[in-house]
């Protein structure tokens, strides 16, 4: 399942994230909503926070697994 793959990539990139969710928005397995709360975001501009998520998901973004991605990031502080 794509959701599991994305979630495991994000877990690797954001260990100990207090919140980490991947939702299949349409049920079609290619439109995702990703929500991550992580210390890695603390103090970073939104652009850099999203860049970290994009980096973690670089492979599924490149190979077409992800057709549409929505990102919500939160700092822990």
């Amino acid at each position: 399942m794509a959701v599991d793959r994305l979630e495991s990539l994000l877990r690797d990139a954001f260990p100990n994230a207090p919140e980490l969710r991947v939702e299949d928005r349409t049920g079609g397995g290619d439109h995702f909503q990703v929500t991550v709360e992580s210390q890695r975001f603390d103090g970073l501009p939104l652009l850099e926070q999203h860049r970290l998520v994009n980096d973690a998901l670089a492979e599924p973004l490149r190979d077409g697994t992800i057709h549409e991605l929505r990102i919500k990031t939160r700092e822990t502080t």
Partner: protein, 127 residues
């Protein structure tokens, strides 16, 4: 057209237009929900938006990703600087930060007479 030429045109639009939205489709025919959300957020902030449709040629998307280091569409630039994709633009619009960024970079009267324009980076024409 060579890839260098295309890359040059994309760079030219990013550097010379005040606010650029690379999107799927045009403001008249939005072909993707995320592109639509970014456009609406920019409109709500009164931004003078220049849009570029990335759908006519797959190399537009590739060249853009290389230039910006951002993997997804849409992408919003203000005065040559990447602001983000749909989620960031929408979030900044909701908190009012988008207006502050536009004011800071374009001047306080940025929304006076703001018009939407469409640039075709394949042919180099603008509407």
């Amino acid at each position: 057209m060579s890839e260098n030429e295309l890359s040059g045109r994309i760079k030219d639009v990013i550097e010379n237009e005040q606010v650029v939205l690379f999107m799927k489709g045009t403001p008249q025919f939005v072909m993707c929900g995320n592109s639509g959300r970014a456009l609406e957020a920019l409109r709500a902030a009164g931004a003078p938006v220049t849009t570029v449709d990335i759908l006519p040629d797959p190399s537009i998307r590739q060249e853009l990703a290389e230039l910006s280091g951002w993997p997804t569409i849409p992408q919003v630039f203000v005065k040559g600087e990447l602001v983000g994709g749909a989620d960031i633009t929408q979030e900044l619009a909701e908190t009012g930060e988008l207006r502050s960024i536009l004011e800071e970079k374009l001047g306080a009267g940025y929304s006076d007479g703001a018009e939407e324009r469409v640039v075709d980076v394949v042919s180099g024409t603008r509407v």
